[in-house]
Point group: C3
Chain length 341, copies 3
Amino acid sequence: MGNIKDYKIATLGSHTALQILKGAKDEGFSTICICEKGRERPYKSYGVCDEIIVIDSFKDYFKIEPELIKKNAIVIPHGSFVAYIGTDKVMDIKAMHYGTKAILDWESDRTKERQWLSAAKIRLPKVFKTPEEIDRPVIIKFHGAHGGKGYFLANSPKEFHERYESYKGKEGHERYAIQEYIVGVPVYTHYFYSRLTGELEVMGFDKRYESNADSIGRIAAKDQVEVGIRTTYTIVGNSPLVLRESLLPEIFEMGDRVVEASKEIVDGGLFGPFCLEGIIDPELNYYVFEISARIVAGTNPYIEGSPYTWLKYNEPMSTGRRLARDIKMAIEQDKLSAVLG
Amino acid sequence: MGNIKDYKIATLGSHTALQILKGAKDEGFSTICICEKGRERPYKSYGVCDEIIVIDSFKDYFKIEPELIKKNAIVIPHGSFVAYIGTDKVMDIKAMHYGTKAILDWESDRTKERQWLSAAKIRLPKVFKTPEEIDRPVIIKFHGAHGGKGYFLANSPKEFHERYESYKGKEGHERYAIQEYIVGVPVYTHYFYSRLTGELEVMGFDKRYESNADSIGRIAAKDQVEVGIRTTYTIVGNSPLVLRESLLPEIFEMGDRVVEASKEIVDGGLFGPFCLEGIIDPELNYYVFEISARIVAGTNPYIEGSPYTWLKYNEPMSTGRRLARDIKMAIEQDKLSAVLG
Amino acid sequence: MGNIKDYKIATLGSHTALQILKGAKDEGFSTICICEKGRERPYKSYGVCDEIIVIDSFKDYFKIEPELIKKNAIVIPHGSFVAYIGTDKVMDIKAMHYGTKAILDWESDRTKERQWLSAAKIRLPKVFKTPEEIDRPVIIKFHGAHGGKGYFLANSPKEFHERYESYKGKEGHERYAIQEYIVGVPVYTHYFYSRLTGELEVMGFDKRYESNADSIGRIAAKDQVEVGIRTTYTIVGNSPLVLRESLLPEIFEMGDRVVEASKEIVDGGLFGPFCLEGIIDPELNYYVFEISARIVAGTNPYIEGSPYTWLKYNEPMSTGRRLARDIKMAIEQDKLSAVLG
C-alpha cells in the first residue's frame, strides 16, 4: 500500500490555492505553495503550506518544476495555473499532474467546447450566422482588439442594422458573433467525478460577484442613462447559493452526460472537479455558456463545506479536500496513475 | 416512554426533502423518501434516506399512503407536498402528519391569509378598491389566464387610466388588483414554534434568487429598454442573509403575534416551522406579503445550521432537524399527538 | 497569571452583541448584556448572556456604568454603542474599554478619516473643489437637513450646471460636495489586529443588503422611470462573500498600512477589529470610502466562522470570539492594559 507521506501536494499561490492546500493538509499531506515574489502573505498567514517556493512570475513555473519532481510533488491545476502556464504548454508538464491534461484544450477552445457540450446534449444558446436570421433577442459581440469589450442588443434584423450603423467601418468592429440573448439568473454548478469511486457528486453552487455588472442595478435607471454606464464583467468574488431542489435530478444528469461525452474526446475522459456555467431562465431551462474542466473559484465560499457536502459527509468537505482525498485513495490503493493525466 | 425506533420520517423527494431527511437521520430516525420515477438520484447520492418509494407522480400520493401507515411513518409536509396533493385534499391525509393541516387552507387563500395577518397586526401593503383612490405608487396585477404574468405601475388615477388604455378590451385584462407598491428589499424570516417547549425561535433569514428579477439589474438600463425586458419572478434558489440586529426584537414579536392569532382561526393553532415573506423599506418598516405555514426552501442554505441557530445550539441545527427533534421529544414524552394535526 | 473568571464581558444589546457575547462565552467569560427596556428577547432567546441590565435608553449608559465597574466588566464598543453614547462622550467612559478610544474620533470625522487613509496610501475617490474641475463621472451630495438624502450625477461642468438648476435657491441645497463617482461593486473587508501577537488577520468579507439600493435593480428600467424611484441606502442586513484570491496580498498590505498610519495619529494606534469599506472597480482597483475602527455588523454572517477563519483556526472563530480571545490572552499574560484604551 502506498503512503501519502511519500508525496507532497503543490499548487500556485492564487485562485483556489488556499482551499486546495488546506484540504490537502486536512487529508494528511505535506503541502508546497509556489508564490510570486512578495505575494506569499496570505499563504503564510492562513498557515496552509508547509513549504513556500518563491518565483518571480508564475510564467517561470518550468524553472522550478525539477524541484517539484525531486520532492515527489503532485501538482494541482486551477484557473490561474492554466492561464499562466498557457494551454499550449500544459502538455509539457513533467511533474505529476492531477487531472486529464488533454481536456484543458477542449475547455479553452470555444469551438471544441461547444462541440463537447453539444455531444453531451447540454442546452446551449443558439448562434445566428447572419443578421437576417435574428428572430429573438440577441447579443452581438465584437471580435478583435478594439471590440473586446463592445456589444449591443437587438430583437430583429431591422434593429440589428439600425444599431450596427454606429459601429460600421470602425476598426475592430468588422467581425462579430450573434448569440441568442438568454435572460435569466447566472448559476455555477460545481461537480466532482472520481474514477476510483465511479461516482459523480454535486458539490454545490455559487454566483459570481462581477464589477460592475453586480452593482449597476443599485443605480437608478435614470442615473445610469445620465452617466452613460455600460456593463462590465470582471470577477471580484463569489457568493454562496443553493438551488431549487426540484432541479437537482437534471443537474446530476447533465454532469453524467458531460463526463460520458468527455470519454469520446480525450483518452480516459474528464475526472476530478469541474463546473458548468450558465443561466437559468424563468421557465427553469439551464443554458450553459461554458465548462471549466478543473476546480473553480466559485467553490471558495465552501472551505468548511457546502450545504450539499454536509449532506453527504460528516466532516467539512471542500472541493479542494475532496480532490486531496481522491489522490489519497489512489495512493493507498496503489492506483496513483488513475488520478494523474 | 415512546421509542423513535418505532417510527419513520417520510416526505416527498423535492423542495426541502434533503434537509428534512438529513435532519431526521441526525436525530436518529429511519427515513423514507417518496420519489417520482427517475428522480431518485439526489436522495441516493446524498445518502439521506434509508428507503425510497417510487411513484409515477406525486399526485399518486394517496395510492402509497397505506404503505406509509403500515410502516408507522410520520409525513412531513413542505411546499411541493401541498402543491401536488392539493390544498383541498390535505384534510384527507390519513397517515400521521406533522403540523396543523387546517392552517394550510389559511395560507393558500389570499383573503383568509390577509385576515389572519391583519388579526396578528402585521404590516400589510394597502389595497385600493378603485383607481380613483390611488395616492402613492401602486402595482396593478391582472387576474386570469392571459394576464397571469402581466402588471403595470402607476402613481396616480391619471397615470392608471393612461397606462390601462393599452390593456383595455383585451381578454384576461378585465379584472385587476391595485396594491400599494412597496419599494425595499425582500426578506424571508424563518420561524419555529414548538408546542412542547412553548418557545418561538427565529431560525434565520434568506433572500430568494429569482429569474429574471435578480439578473435584469445586471443589464444596463439602456439595454433593458432596447430589448423590452419585463420582470418575472421564478424562484431558482436561495442565498443566506443576516438581518440588522436592531430589527430582531420586532421580528420575534411579529412571530409571537402570528402564532397567537392562529389559535383564533384553527383549533390548536400553528406550530412547527413557518415563514413571513415581505419587504423592508428604507424606513425599516417590514411589510409582509405572504405567510408559509410550513418549512420553506429558504432554509436550505442552512443545512449545517444558520448564524442564528449556531448561537442557540452547540450542534448543527437546520429547520429540518429542529422539526425532527420536536417529533422525537413528543415521542419520548408520550405526547405524539401534540405534533400531529 | 490573571484569571478570566475575575472579569466579565459587557456590551449594548444591538449591532453585533449576539456575536460578541457568544464569542465571549465560548472563550469562557461570563457576559452582561445591557438592553433597552422591551428589547431583551433576542439575547434571552439565543442564550448568549449570563446577566441582563435593562435601561430605558442606550443614552443612559453612564447611569449604569458604576454597576459595570463594580462587576469588573470590560465593555466592548460597536457601531450602535458609539452612535448612542456619542463620539464626544467616548473619552468619558470610565469602565474598562476594549480598543483605542481616541481612534473613534478619527473614524467619525470625514476630514480626519481622509487624512488617516491618505497617510496609509489607501486609494480614495477624488474630491473636486469646484464644478469647473469635473472631468469624469461625479456624484454631487448635498449637506444639511433637507439635502441629506439628495444627490445627482454629472459627467462635466456643463451637465453639473444644467442639473443643479432644479435645486438652485432651495433650502438645504446651497452646500454640496463633488466626489468622483466610482462604478464597481461594494466590498467590506474585516480585519483584526492584535497587539499581543503583533499579527494582522483578514477575517473575511461581506456585502451589505441596502434598502432600496439592493432591490431597485429587480425593477425593469422602464418601470423605475415610471414610478420615479431614487436610490436609498438604509442597511437592512449583510450577505457572505469571498474575494478573488489574487487580491488578498494587496488586502493584507492595505491593512498593514492602516495600522501603521494609526500609530502616528493616536497614542498606541489602532488594534482589535476594523473594517475598510469601499468599491472594487472593473480594473480591480479598491477605492475606500470609509473605515470603521471597531467591529462591524458585516461580520454577523460569520458567527460560526468565515471561510477565511476556518483556514486558520480549527474551531469556529467569529470576530466577536477573536476579540474575546485577545482579552483572554491579555489577562492570562497579565497585560490587560494592552487591550484597553
